[in-house]
């Protein structure tokens, strides 16, 4: 197709502002799918995506649209992940586009992810078209939303399109705006190949599948391609586009988006943001913006049943085939035995990995409290990185510790400031900005230690604002901090997997709260179980789980031994799901007690 009639665009929005519904409507309107083929949120293919209402993987769909001007256009809708954990992936998806629809809920207005995603799009040089969704709802206030878009993001909102993705109202105008306001792609089909790899995943039948945007040149089936970051070469077996049915094509040219299958075995070899070029006639330079993805949040994953260690390792291997951002290495714990230290992009990513392991691989997992990676300068001046609190060098071995810091943007109705400001203070935040986004709405900017965010910040933020505040953040370097290791002892024995790195000033309070929470989470046993919190060997808090008083199955209706046996088996099974430390049985959730202290 003539590149003049191609439009590559994305929809960017805060969660729940209607992105997937709008995508569904666009598919329907362009006849990509018959109504009977429609399943709500067609593009969110994974069960997890549909259930959580979020997009984890990027997708691209080619729509053929006959515009009011009589011409037929090829519209490539690139659906981007919708969560802060995946902001790098979002930036790469956006780099594959020339335009973006900025979708804002007419009642909720601009939220933190609206701002973050709009900035990403603007910074990529995209033509951004504001679209105000849900204008048919009672609380809709499109004029106020337009003001916010202008004042906060600095975009001209006078041409913002009022729509209802749910009813289809105004959606036709969105397609027209894509055609007329998004610039066509610029590249030349005759130039050396430069294609932006903006997502990849593993398919058990085809191997790794690449999703790429051709920026320059032409790619044909059978061509030999080279990945510029690592120099690896492959032969193209299949080229395809999704409409959203997968249709094989013979070639893709500059401006187009498509799928590439090239017998690639490991998703880790096909890294997001890489440039695909021709091995015979390589481009002079890669496309800008490639980065190595680095995990930000770390936790230990252990099988509840130590016999499942090999199964867990195999499952992690399989998962990594499909998720190059996920990192793991073996570790061992005195308390928990053999397991793995895993790195994630963020908390959501961690939850997703955990859920997929349990769901797809049927594993019973024990997860330790999430933490971050610290930089520790030892007394000899050397630097080590520590992502497992149990391995923090002792105070006599270390000179200083630096912790990762994020820049957080919080948008909230003004009335919740009374809860939000003390929360940011408590979490050791330093205010960088305080801005009114219009009457009654504020945007706060804070520098916050990442380890405070990974604990319970998000939940507490939601509680403090009754769910109204939104949060977005990105990593902003390291800062020195006065940190100590907090240990938890159960029945007199320190449990390494429960150790935490906390700020010295908060250590006492945290220790007390954690011991109290552990008391709630550890069920009563046949004997009394003391729980203690300690810093450097000094006990700072003590709680006791009282011994159980009764546990009796009395009735035996007419000799129903089978029921009795089943109840005993259930009891035994319940114990199996707990981790036995010495003679104390600890449930899985107790290892995440630190996340539940606010409850």
């Amino acid at each position: 197709m003539d590149a003049q009639r191609i439009r590559n665009f994305a929809i960017v929005a805060h969660i729940d502002h209607g992105k997937s519904t709008l995508a569904d409507r666009l598919l329907e309107l362009t006849g990509a799918l018959e109504p009977r083929e429609m399943q709500a949120q067609v593009l969110d293919a994974m069960d997890l995506e549909r259930e959580r209402g979020i997009t984890i993987k990027a997708h691209a769909v080619r729509l053929n649209y006959r515009a009011v001007d009589g011409e037929t256009y090829q519209l490539n809708l690139i659906d981007t992940p919708g969560h802060v954990d995946f902001s790098y992936e979002v930036s790469r998806s956006l780099a594959a586009c020339e335009g973006a629809l900025l979708l804002v809920d007419a009642a909720q207005g601009v939220e933190a992810q609206t701002v973050a995603n709009a900035y990403l799009a603007v910074n990529q040089g995209l033509e951004v078209v504001p679209v105000i969704n849900k204008v048919d709802l009672p609380g809709a206030d499109p004029e106020r939303v337009k003001e916010q878009i202008e004042s906060v993001i600095g975009l001209d909102a006078s041409q913002a399109l009022p729509i209802s993705a749910k009813t289809g109202l105004g959606v036709e105008a969105v397609l027209e705006a894509v055609v007329h306001r998004t610039p066509p792609p610029k590249g030349s089909p005759a130039a050396p190949l430069q294609a932006l790899l903006f997502d990849s995943w593993f398919d058990s039948y085809r191997g790794v599948i690449l999703l790429a945007r051709l920026v320059e040149g032409t790619l044909r089936r059978g061509d030999k391609i080279r990945l510029m970051s690592n120099g690896m070469c492959y032969q193209v077996e299949t080229l395809a586009v999704r409409t959203p049915k997968t249709i094989e094509v013979d070639e893709l040219a500059a401006g187009e988006v498509g799928l590439i299958v090239a017998n690639i075995k490991r998703v880790g070899d096909a890294r997001i943001g890489d440039t695909i070029t021709s091995d015979l006639r390589p481009a002079a330079a890669p496309l800008p913006g490639f980065q190595e993805i680095k995990p930000m949040v770390f936790a230990g994953l252990y099988p509840v049943d130590s016999d499942q260690h090999t199964l867990l390792r195999d499952a992690l291997e399989k998962l990594r085939l499909n998720d190059s951002a996920f990192f793991f290495e073996p570790e061992s714990s005195v308390a928990l035995g053999f397991g793995f230290r895993c790195g994630f992009l963020g908390l959501l990513h961690m939850e997703i990995v955990q859920e997929r392991l349990e769901r797809e691989f049927n594993l019973d997992l024990l997860v330790t409290a999430p933490g971050v990676r610290y930089r520790v300068t030892l007394t000899d001046g050397s630097l080590v990185e520590v992502d497992n609190p149990a391995r923090l060098p002792s105070p006599s071995e270390r000179r200083s510790i630096e912790e990762p810091v994020i820049r957080a943007t919080i948008i909230s109705p003004e009335e919740y400031l009374g809860g939000l400001l003390p929360l940011c203070e408590e979490k050791r935040g330093r205010q960088q900005g305080f801005e009114y986004l219009g009457p009654g709405r504020v945007m706060l900017t804070y520098l916050l230690p990442l380890n405070e965010i990974v604990l319970d910040f998000y939940d507490r933020l939601k509680t403090a604002s009754r769910g109204y505040a939104s949060l977005d953040y990105h990593l902003s370097g390291y800062q020195p901090a006065d940190l100590v290791k907090l240990d938890i002892l159960v029945a007199g024995e320190p449990v390494d997997a429960l150790s935490l790195i906390v700020h010295a000033e908060q250590a006492y309070e945290r220790g007390r709260a954690l011991a109290a929470k552990m008391k709630e989470l550890i069920p009563r046993q046949m004997f009394e179980v003391p729980i203690q919190a300690a810093i450097g060997g000094k006990i700072i808090a003590r709680e006791t789980v009282k011994a159980m008083r009764k546990n009796v199955l009395a009735k035996c209706y007419g000799g129903d031994i089978t029921r009795k046996r089943k109840l005993l088996e259930k009891q035994k099974e319940g114990k199996r799901r707990m981790k036995k430390l010495g003679k104390v049985e600890i449930p899985q959730e107790a290892f995440l007690a630190v996340l539940k202290m606010g409850e």
Binding site: M526, V552, G559, R565, L568
Partner: protein
């Protein structure tokens, strides 16, 4: 007349914690126990986790016909007709709702197939307030010599709160009527942990129970599980069925321990986790469950167990009345799959059932029946619980300690593979 003339004292030594040398398995003959399930009730108690219900009375005739048909079919299928029977138990539900003529008809049906031994124990469960003179006379004529009254408490508020329909004074009147009719082998059921129970109310219930002086008392702690309405409500943290007024676990444990203490002082010995007796008043039918002696159950959700040549087989009837009756009306047995227990399972059950009795189990009984290696493995597995004071061993017998009895589920679960 000797008040136990129709039911000579069972082998009381067998159940006694002191008679350590007694071997329970040998003291009984191979006679059968028969259990008849009678699932009809006037109301469904909130703590009930059995298949009983308020079924329409018009189903009664048909249900009895099914029971009769089932007994014939089982006797034939298992070749157990004509055998000797030493315990009968009509449980429920509420067997006392059965009209006098129907009770006699059922007893006759049983006697057509089996011959109860002259000294057989024949228990009927009765709901206080449902006993007429005619009922009691019919039971006597049918051969009933032991009656268990499901009274649960002497406190009106507690009785009402779980949906039982009788009043405390009904129990007094029923006890008098039964005794007048020569039925003295009586049991009273109590529940510790009922809604609105307090220490004072519980002490009063215990005192009045001891005053009534039945030879047998059963005391259960309220079970909180998914199988009853009250249990589900408690698990969900709700307030229906007076769930908000249920004493917590520790209080219930206090109440139960108080009962054990007071009953012991008054001469009622605990011979099983929930059962207390004096003067040889132990329930021989219930003992057979713990001693793994064979029994056949008939009716809704009834359970059966037969042992032959070292093989143990168990089966159960469906819990749905329609399903049960439809099968028998079509001339088929209603029972589900017959389970043959492996020696390992039998050993585990010998342990977890035997340990429910205060007499415990003898290692020599186990080694007589099971492979020495398997018994040794169990012996090793219980060592930590001996150390923790949950189990005790003396003169070759293993028993739960008083504390182990309060935590029996935790302890017994450890005996499973």
């Amino acid at each position: 007349m000797n008040r136990l003339a129709n039911a000579p004292a069972p082998d009381g030594r067998d159940a006694s914690a002191e008679s350590s040398a007694e071997s329970s398995a040998e003291s009984f003959t191979d006679a059968l126990g028969l259990y008849i399930s009678f699932p009809f009730c006037r109301s469904k108690c909130s703590y009930c986790n059995f298949a009983s219900n308020v079924f329409p009375p018009r189903l009664l005739d048909g249900y009895l016909a099914c029971l009769e048909r089932e007994m014939e079919l089982v006797a034939e299928a298992e070749s157990v007709g004509g055998g000797s029977v030493d315990t009968l138990y009509w449980g429920g539900g509420t067997p006392s709702l059965l009209a006098p003529d129907l009770a006699l008809r059922l007893a006759q049906a049983i006697r057509r197939i089996w011959t109860p031994a002259p000294e057989a124990e024949f228990t009927l469960e009765a709901a206080p307030g449902t006993l007429s003179t005619a009922h009691i006379a019919a039971w006597r004529a049918a051969g009933v010599n032991r009656v268990s009254l499901g009274m649960q408490s002497w406190q009106e508020a507690e009785i009402r709160s779980v949906g039982r329909l009788h009043r405390a004074e009904d129990v007094t009147r029923d006890l008098e009527a039964l005794r007048r009719a020569g039925l003295e082998n009586l049991n009273l059921d109590l529940i510790a942990g009922l809604p609105h129970q307090t220490e004072a109310s519980w002490r009063d219930t215990l005192a009045r129970t001891l005053d009534a002086a039945p030879p047998h008392i059963s005391i259960y702690m309220l079970e909180v599980d998914e199988d009853s309405r009250l249990g589900r409500e408690l698990l969900a943290g709700g307030a229906r069925y007076h769930a908000h007024a249920v004493p917590d676990d520790d209080r219930t444990a206090d109440f139960f321990e108080l009962a054990v203490e007071q009953l012991a002082a008054a001469g009622w010995r605990q011979y099983e986790i929930s059962n207390f007796a004096r003067d040889g008043g132990e329930s021989r039918h219930n003992l057979r469950y713990w001693a793994r002696r064979p029994y056949l159950g008939f009716g809704l959700e009834a359970h059966s167990m037969l042992r032959r040549d070292g093989e143990e087989r168990r089966w159960a009837n469906p819990a749905e009345l329609k399903e049960y009756m439809a099968a028998l009306e079509a001339g088929r047995l209603a029972r589900g799959e017959v389970e043959a227990l492996s020696p390992q399972r039998q050993l585990e059950e010998a342990l977890f059932l035997g340990l429910r009795r205060n007499a415990g189990i003898g290692w020599d009984e186990l080694t007589a029946e099971f492979k020495a290696g398997a018994v040794e493995a169990k012996r090793a597995a219980i060592t930590p619980m001996l150390a923790q004071g949950m189990l005790e061993e003396s003169q070759g017998r293993l028993r739960l300690t008083p504390r182990g009895r309060m935590l029996s589920t935790s302890v017994l679960a450890e005996l499973l593979e």
